[in-house]
């Protein structure tokens, strides 16, 4: 099928970008969205033009590396899907597809569709680990965790950090991401010990990175490939208020 593309091209953060029009005549509906971009890049190489740079890694929907705005929606038209798991069968012959990078002040464009999401890593670094040296792995049954708690922690921990929540939020808030990490650690006994310091450090880091406020529009949950629940945000607010109230200095 024939596909028309309008793709954001930008050399670097220092230069201005623009939407550039491309056309692909032989796109198979079985192709993944990223394979379609590969096809376009091959045609650019043959014409000795600079290829379109975009983030991708596993192409299995689990690494969180890929992610672009497709026709104005994070990860495209399908619900709870990563960009790599979107296929060209979701589009029709003759369609025009608009492709842009995830946009937020905290996600500066590196080139074209490639962005720097180091701000999310810094939130994790600010408190999302356990500082005690645990030595060898302990006996698995030594630390009892009930099944519902393990499942709830896993639900939160399934966040792949793609940044679609930030990109789709009208306030560019990273609350869904941060709250998922906070919940995951707070629920399990290993993380429970430092939950107070952690929530304060991670929320402060989130603000320092320049993310916006959450106004509970719930758009993030709709676009999240892992269906992370917005209730984690409420839980983070609870944890944060409690930590603020109880901290000693």
């Amino acid at each position: 099928m024939k596909i028309y593309l309008k793709i954001w091209r930008q050399d670097s953060l220092a230069t201005a970008g623009e939407m550039v029009v491309y056309q692909l005549d032989e796109v198979s509906s079985d192709m993944s969205f990223l394979e379609m971009l590969d096809l376009l890049n091959e045609s650019l190489i043959q014409k000795s033009e600079r290829v379109i740079e975009f983030d991708h890694d596993c192409r299995e929907g689990i690494c969180g590396q890929c992610g672009v705005m497709i026709n104005g929606r994070a990860h495209g038209p399908l619900a709870h899907t990563t960009t790599c798991q979107l296929h060209m069968r979701s589009f029709k012959d003759g369609d025009t597809i608009h492709i842009e990078p995830f946009r937020a002040a905290a996600f500066p464009v590196v080139r074209d569709l490639k962005i720097n999401r180091h701000s999310l890593d810094k939130i994790i670094q600010s408190g999302g680990f356990i500082s005690a040296s645990s030595g060898e792995a302990p006996e698995a049954n030594g630390l009892l965790i009930s099944h519902p708690v393990a499942e709830a922690a896993f639900d939160a921990g399934s966040c792949i950090g793609c940044g679609a929540c930030v990109a789709t939020c009208k306030n560019s808030s990273a609350d869904l991401f941060t709250s998922a990490k906070i919940t995951q650690f707070a629920l399990l006994p290993q993380g429970n010990i430092e939950r107070t310091e952690r929530v304060l450090a991670m929320v402060d880091q989130m603000d320092a990175e320049g993310f916006g406020h959450c106004t509970n529009t719930e758009a993030c949950e709709v676009e999240c490939p892992q269906e992370i629940s917005v209730l984690h945000i409420a839980r983070m607010n609870y944890e944060y208020s409690k930590a603020l109230l109880l901290k000693r200095n």
């Binding site: 309008k6 026709n71 929606r73 946009r103 993310f211 916006g212 509970n216 409420a234 607010n237």
Partner: protein
């Protein structure tokens, strides 16, 4: 936002319950409502509450401006092609716009009743209370004035529909059972407040 918002939500209930006296038969409503206005005007506690109320409205609006500015900064470059609206409700994205409509309405509303009752000389009724009832009835004599009020109440309704449950989230209610309870309570609350306030001007317009 949540703290001031919920305080204003609570005030709306008291305000509406008081106003429902306007729906009584005209003679009875006049006596009853003027007595009620006089009661409020003469009470020091009510005076203090009214100043706290005014401060809450200002704090609510100022804080909204601050977080909007922060969000605008956080957004960076705008999308060239944006269909993100499909993933959230219109009112949740336009709380600022709805709030502005309500703020403009409040200025008109305070000028209509608060200014008139507190800063002008007024006719007294048979009991010797200021005749606020006649001021209210006269105000809703004009259809376009009723329309201004009705439009403002619709804006208020959409503002509350998002604001009520959003405030609970900000305060940290995350248990799924109570989250749903808050959501349904918010719907009933919004229907009661919006319906009640919308009914009064229409009733007065058609009955006088």
């Amino acid at each position: 936002m949540a703290g001031t918002g919920l305080f204003l939500c609570f005030f709306l209930v008291i305000h509406l319950l008081g106003n429902l006296q306007l729906l009584l038969p005209a003679a009875e409503a006049k006596e009853q409502f003027n007595w009620y206005s006089h009661l409020l005007a003469g009470n020091l506690f009510i005076k203090i509450v009214s100043w706290v109320l005014l401060l809450s409205i200002i704090a609510h609006a100022v804080y909204a401006l601050i977080i909007t500015r922060k969000s605008n900064k956080a957004n960076g470059t705008k999308y060239a092609y944006d269909k993100r609206g499909a993933s959230s409700t219109w009112n949740s994205r336009n709380m600022g716009l709805l709030g502005t409509v309500i703020l403009v309405f409040l200025v008109i509303h305070l000028k209509d009743f608060w200014y008139v009752s507190d800063f002008t000389t007024m006719n007294l009724d048979k009991q010797g209370n200021k005749d606020m009832y006649s001021v209210v009835v006269l105000t809703f004599h004009e259809w376009w004035y009723v329309l201004i009020y009705e439009i403002s109440f619709i804006a208020l309704g959409f503002h509350l529909l998002h604001g009520f449950f959003s405030a609970a989230r900000t305060l940290g209610i995350y248990h799924p059972k109570y989250v749903n309870l808050v959501r349904y309570t918010g719907w009933v609350y919004t229907a009661f407040i919006t319906g009640g306030f919308m009914l009064i001007p229409i009733y007065l317009y058609f009955n006088n």
